[in-house]
């Protein structure tokens, strides 16, 4: 029958109906269908095996390619993707005083930062961080939503806050160490120490000047990170180790510094000054024990605050009568006068069309050099300086260190303004020796009188005692060399005269009971910054001196900027000098030396002091002395003693 042709074995089976249906082939049993094409399964099996083998070989070949041939390259690529280079921060050195008390130190705190790309929910995370960091939630949310990969959230937070943030374990928030600079003594010596900026780099004062040695060198560390920024432990290598900064030991004495700032601050407030400076120095070594730079600050509870810079070296001013110490030293040294030389000193004298006059109206006097110095006579000084001459005066001013920077080399230090003789006018011989028409820093004037205290030898000032390394070993700074300016005899004569200034001259308020104090007052008008001439009613009152006079140990200067209404150096600066020097000598246990007759060939300043038994020697009998009338005391006038 014609069955419709169907594909497949069914159709084929039906195509041979007789063979299938009968099943009665003799002696052969049931027939396996498809036995006629007996090789096909074996062929298929073989073909499959071949295919499998080929695929297997291909896979193995690929494996070998990846693992053996390119394996190292892929592994390196992976490492490079994971590796991050971090800088290891170097610990900044501390600054300590001469006794080891810490003035400035760094503490390792933690900084919280965020990777806004990885922050999943800024609002939620901000709400969780706000109470911990004590920052407004809106600010945190804004920072977490910015389109950047790095945002600082909080700098240098205390450890408790950092631990709380880490416990929150928020995605995209991480911490890194950052150190913060602290001044444990508050504002003590703040003007001298200076500060650091946000990056921890010194920006002013000592921190700036010695930043290279204080900062150390940061190191480099490489480590691998996993997903989420976690560091893979065991993969961190320090390529370059961090070098910690060295600690700096200053010559300052914290106790004397505190006392100086305290007394100076009170004087600034009570004399309504706008600022002041006080420096105490060891006479023999030039090491600075205290350097106080204060400005009046109405917002501060004490009424004063630290000056923005170290005004002892940065502020220049016209020194006024303290310059007479230089003039007289030069005159004695060159021999143009001796201490017993006398001059006829009227109240005023004309010079090159101008008038030079003394502070006080007085009749014509016949004064010796100690008298001129004690009463700070400008006319008398003019006589001396005319004998001395312009070039010698200028030479000695330079020898004393005026017109050049001190060895401190502090940031912003000024060298002062000392015009060369070629620029001097006809009246300069009258004004410059009395300290007007020339500008100096407090430190320079201190160095002048320290030279006298040191027997005529200039000693360079220093603020740095040495450097302390990690092991705590101090390597002292070598002292810079000094030079001789005047002979010891000249210095002795000057010292005796300066003792007279304090005993019965303009500086009586600087006296310290039990000690002989040598010093000089100065009251100078402040020049007009915009036009020629001076600002009316604005003065700088100063006092500079040393003690004990027989064997000077400490030299100090006190300068008050614009004290009012009382402005004389002898009235505002000298009392401060007395108090801080008394404290310093007591603190350093400098006893009053045994009084001795030094045999100075200096006549006593006035007969009344001789009668009271002063140890300046017997009253002179060689020349008649006109005792000065008691009314000759510095009062209002334009050029001040």
């Amino acid at each position: 029958m014609a069955a419709p042709a169907r594909s497949g074995p069914v159709g084929r089976a039906q195509a041979r109906p007789s063979a299938v249906r009968s099943g009665h082939r003799p002696g052969r049993g049931r027939r396996v269908p498809g036995l006629a094409s007996a090789g096909l399964p074996i062929r298929r099996l073989g073909a499959m095996t071949l295919v499998i083998c080929v695929v297997f070989v291909a896979v193995v070949a690929r494996l070998v390619m990846i693992q053996q041939v390119h394996g190292a390259g892929y592994a390196a690529y992976g490492v490079s993707e994971r590796t991050r280079a971090l800088s290891i921060t170097a610990e900044r050195g501390s600054i300590v005083d001469r006794s080891g008390n810490v003035l400035a130190m760094s503490v390792a705190l933690t900084t919280i930062y965020a990777d806004p790309h990885q922050v999943t929910d800024p609002r939620l995370e901000a709400s969780e961080l706000a109470p911990v960091l004590q920052l407004p939630q809106s600010q945190l949310q804004a920072e977490l939503s910015t389109a950047s990969g790095f945002e600082y959230l909080a700098h240098a937070v205390p450890d408790a806050e950092a631990a709380a943030v880490e416990k929150l374990n928020l995605p995209g928030i991480a911490t890194e160490p950052e150190s913060k600079r602290f001044d444990p003594d508050g504002t003590l010596a703040a003007s001298v120490l200076g500060g650091v900026d946000y990056a921890g780099v010194g920006s002013s004062g000592v921190e700036y000047q010695y930043n290279a040695r204080l900062a150390g060198k940061p190191g480099l560390q490489r480590l691998q990170e996993g997903l989420g920024g976690q560091a893979i432990p065991g993969t961190s290598q320090a390529i370059i180790p961090a070098v910690p900064g060295q600690s700096l030991e200053l010559t300052l004495d914290s106790a004397i510094q505190y006392e100086t700032e305290s007394v100076l601050g009170q004087e600034i407030v009570s004399s309504h000054a706008i600022g002041g400076t006080a420096v105490i120095m060891q006479s023999k070594t030039g090491q600075i024990l205290a350097m106080a730079d204060l400005v009046a600050d109405a917002k501060s509870p004490t009424g004063v605050g630290p000056a923005p810079s170290d005004t002892a070296v940065t502020r220049v001013y016209e020194p006024g009568s303290v310059m007479k110490g230089v003039t007289m030293s030069a005159a004695l040294q060159t021999g143009v006068v001796v201490p017993s030389t006398r001059f006829v000193v009227p109240y005023s004298v004309s010079l090159d069309g101008s008038v030079i006059h003394d502070a006080e109206v007085h009749p014509v006097e016949y004064w010796s050099i100690p008298d001129i110095l004690a009463y700070s006579s400008n006319v008398g000084t003019l006589h001396v300086s005319q004998l001395l001459g312009t070039s010698r005066l200028y030479q000695y001013m330079r020898a004393f260190g005026l017109g050049s920077k001190t060895a401190l080399d502090a940031p912003g230090e000024s060298q002062g303004i000392l015009p060369p003789p070629s620029n001097w006018s006809g009246t300069s011989i009258g004004t410059i020796p009395i300290g007007q028409g020339v500008a100096v820093t407090s430190m320079q004037m201190l160095d002048v009188y320290n030279t006298i205290a040191n027997g005529g030898r200039y000693v360079a000032p220093s603020l740095v005692k040495g450097w302390v390394n990690q092991a705590g070993v101090l390597s002292p700074n070598p002292a810079p060399p000094g030079h001789r300016v005047v002979t010891a005899q000249t210095a002795r004569q000057m010292t005796a005269m300066l003792v007279g200034v304090v005993k019965s001259g303009t500086g009586t308020e600087a006296a310290i009971n039990g000690y002989d104090v040598a010093g000089k007052t100065g009251t100078a008008q402040k020049p007009n910054p915009t036009s020629a001439g001076y600002l009316p009613g604005q003065f700088m009152g100063s006092f500079v001196g040393f003690a004990p006079a027989e064997d000077p140990q400490l030299t100090a200067i006190v300068v008050l900027d614009r004290p009012t209404p009382v402005f004389y150096g002898g009235s505002v600066a000298a009392p401060v000098f007395s108090q801080i020097m008394a404290y310093a000598m007591r603190s350093l246990q400098i006893p009053p030396p045994a009084h001795r007759d030094l045999g100075w060939d200096v006549p006593v300043v006035d007969a009344s002091a001789a009668a009271a038994g002063s140890d300046n020697g017997p009253a002179p009998t060689a020349l008649p002395v006109t005792p000065p009338p008691p009314s000759v005391r510095p009062r209002a006038g334009s050029t001040r003693p």
């Binding site: 002696g27 008390n101 810490v102 130190m105 760094s106 503490v107 390792a108 705190l109 450890d159 160490p177 602290f182 444990p184 003594d185 508050g186 003590l188 560091a231 432990p233 065991g234 914290s254 106790a255 510094q257 505190y258 006392e259 305290s262 007394v263 009170q266 004490t302 310290i512 009971n513 039990g514 000690y515 002989d516 108090q579 801080i580 008394a582 404290y583 007591r586 006893p591 009053p592 045994a594 009084h595 001795r596 009271a612 038994g613 002063s614 140890d615």
Partner: protein, 183 residues
């Protein structure tokens, strides 16, 4: 009529089934004998030994791999521990620094002065007395009486007094007398 039929397959098969013929038994082949060498094992033993060796090697390989894995695990564990200890060390160092800062703050002169004044009620001394033996360097030969002594009183700094609330000076030392001889 019983005609002799030609034997057909079916007939032969049925006849065999009806009267089964005994099949001649085969003689078992004698097992060949030989002298056994000393230390030679039976096939069963050899097989067992072979199996044992294979098993042993496999076990060794497994143990070796396990050891490798264990070593890596322990390494990772110790690295984590090291990182945690390093973190602890850094924390303690930071804490040490913070304590040093605290010490420095406690030692600051302004704090000491304010504590002394407010909490302990201290005031600066009214005057300091110096005893200076042998004033004026007088050389006394064979003198029975002692050399004159000078008592000097130096007024102390009144730095704190202006700020202090206590206006009255504190008790002065019994030695400090207001008299001072002219130096």
């Amino acid at each position: 009529m019983t005609a002799t039929q030609l034997p057909t397959r079916a007939s032969v098969q049925s006849a065999a089934l009806a009267a089964p013929r005994p099949v001649p038994r085969r003689q078992p082949r004698p097992t060949p004998l030989r002298v056994v060498a000393p230390g030679e094992r039976t096939p069963q033993a050899r097989l067992r030994r072979r199996r044992l060796v294979v098993f042993g090697l496999a076990a060794l390989a497994v143990i070796g791999l396990f050891g490798l894995v264990a070593e890596h695990t322990v390494l990772a564990q110790q690295q984590f521990r090291l990182a945690s200890l390093q973190g602890q060390a850094a924390t303690e160092q930071a804490r040490n620094q913070a304590l040093q800062l605290q010490v420095a703050q406690l030692q600051s002169p302004s704090r000491i002065v304010s504590e002394a004044r407010t909490k302990l009620g201290m005031v600066p001394p009214a005057g300091i007395t110096y005893l200076v033996p042998g004033q004026k360097g007088a050389k006394v030969k064979g003198q029975a009486t002692p050399t004159p002594t000078t008592i000097l009183t130096t007024p102390s700094s009144t730095a704190a007094s202006a700020n202090s609330s206590a206006a009255a000076p504190g008790p002065t030392s019994p030695l400090s007398s207001p008299t001072s001889s002219a130096p």
